[in-house]
């Protein structure tokens, strides 16, 4: 094990990841509609500030400002020819902040979805997806990322393409999916199915898990689903700070720092090793999470679904898609297989 994340995981039984990137950048003046990745070149000081906030709040690992840094996303802003540069800069700034610390901090090169839908319905092919992720991966590697961090993926095809791109770049990686549709990803992947898919990959991730989605409770239900398979691979939990609410013309996430602290400890009890937040998770949440993880003992048992809903709030759907559920429609007979 030569990479920094694997080394850190050998010495610690939990790590605190970071919180929101978007929510923080908007608070720092990012205009809605502006691609955050351009700030790596235009406002590097603000990106330094973004990373420092996470590290100062106690994060052992933070994600670079490169979520939408693939050619397909940047094309929406006519910046598709800047993939390599913007990703390199995202990681370079991260490297600078991480190396300044007196303890190991991991720079994780964020790679979000392409936003495209796979063929035959959409335009995306495996080759194209691999090519786009690979281009981004090389930029992040060049800038000094310790590990690549694929996140908010819905389609299994896209997750697999990202794995291949990380292999081409010769980089270790982690990958999370977003389970936001009745316990599954938008494309129908369950927690158990994700474990099965991850286990079959040639270039398996160092850790895998769930991010974003719908609130902290749903995310932990997904983590319980991962853990129930008995997987040995470290599990990542990066949930949103509650659910966004519209109050007096403003939007805010209803998850308090106290709730996120409770979520962090429960995530660890559910079986997660790398624990962080996603949308709406700010420095004050991270600090509360760090303190709770350091001061509260591990629970004896994995929390039950009842414990989770009692302490963090109810679930968005009745089950997590793993049960029998509704049966598919009875067929009259097929004309071809």
């Amino acid at each position: 094990m030569t990479d920094a994340l694997s080394r850190l995981l050998e010495t610690r039984d939990w790590l605190l990841a970071d919180g929101a990137t978007g929510t923080n950048l908007f608070n720092m003046g990012l205009e809605a509609g502006e691609p955050p990745e351009l700030w790596n070149a235009d406002q590097p000081n603000k990106i330094k500030q973004l990373y420092s906030k996470a590290v100062d709040a106690g994060s052992d690992l933070f994600l670079t400002n490169s979520f939408g840094g693939n050619a397909s996303r940047l094309k929406l802003h006519n910046a598709q020819n800047r993939v390599r540069e913007l990703n390199r800069l995202a990681a370079e700034i991260g490297r600078e902040i991480a190396d300044r610390q007196d303890h190991p901090v991991i720079v994780a090169g964020s790679m979000g979805p392409t936003g495209d839908i796979f063929a035959p319905m959409g335009t995306l092919t495996h080759e194209l997806a691999v090519e786009m992720f690979h281009e981004q991966a090389e930029g992040l590697k060049e800038g000094g990322a310790d590990v690549l961090w694929v996140e908010t993926i819905s389609a299994p095809e896209e997750y697999k393409a990202a794995a291949e791109a990380c292999l081409l770049a010769g980089m270790p990686w982690c990958g999370t999916m977003s389970f936001d549709t009745a316990g599954r990803t938008m494309m129908g992947v369950t927690s158990t199915a994700m474990v099965g898919m991850v286990d079959k990959l040639t270039h398996a991730p160092l850790a895998f898990g769930a991010n974003c989605g719908v609130g902290a409770s749903d995310l932990l239900r997904t983590v319980l689903g991962f853990a129930a398979t008995g997987t040995e691979r470290p599990i990542i939990a990066k949930g949103n700070a509650g659910i966004p609410k519209y109050v007096d013309g403003h939007i805010h996430y209803d998850g308090t720092p106290e709730l996120m602290a409770e979520y962090a400890v429960m995530a660890r009890d559910c079986g997660a090793t790398i624990i962080g937040g996603c949308c709406g998770t700010m420095s004050e949440h991270l600090r509360a999470m760090r303190e709770a993880l350091e001061t509260q003992p591990r629970g004896e048992d994995r929390p039950s679904l009842e414990d989770i809903s009692a302490r963090l709030g109810g679930f968005s759907s009745e089950d997590d898609g793993l049960g029998e559920g509704g049966a598919k429609r009875e067929r009259r007979g097929r004309r071809r297989s």
Binding site: R184, G188, P244, Y246, R329, R332, R335, S337
Partner: protein, 233 residues
Amino acid sequence: MAEDDDEIILSELSDDELTAQMMDDLYDGLKEEIEEATHILLERGWTPYDILTKALVAGMTIVGADFRDGILFVPEVLLAANAMKGGMAILKPLLVETGAPRMGKMVIGTVKGDIHDIGKNLVAMMMEGAGFEIVDLGINNPVEKYLETAAAEGADIIGMSALLTTTMPYMKVVIDTMKEQGIRDDYIVLVGGAPLNEEFGRAIGADAYCRDAAVAVETAKDFIARKHNQMTA
């Protein structure tokens, strides 16, 4: 491979059997079969409007219900919508010729400041699959873009999508502008996006919040039907 006794010859089926088969084939996303069956029904003298409503839309309603209930997921639904589009491509010119009532036309896009378009794309695909005409404005649309396009296209529905909590409030700007211009009631306004909810939809004055693409289709059909009823009343 299919067994011989599974083989179904579409042209040998009765009308009832054939429409039932079309519902199955839509469910399985079999585009060529849908195209073939559409031609057969036309040859048998069905009106294009009957084929659209009694076979294709009826079939997509089943797909939509199973998507809503978590039995089908996006990939299957997109394949079904694609099969439906195959049938629609045949019917569309005939529907225009015969002056059949239109399903409706929707102008759709993500709001100003929002660059997240996958949800919007899914809604557009499923609306098309359900027989609606779609004018896709893409991402990052200012209020003028929605209103000018809706007017120019003679749209029935304006659909707005936002993924960010920071861009959701812009939907209210669009609706407020419509009110100022006295055109709010000329259009059905549907909103959607991960951070939204019904409460928000009501608060900003939209006609409805649509939780997902299947709900968007059902809601659009509902509102269009109400609109037709009002016109004939």
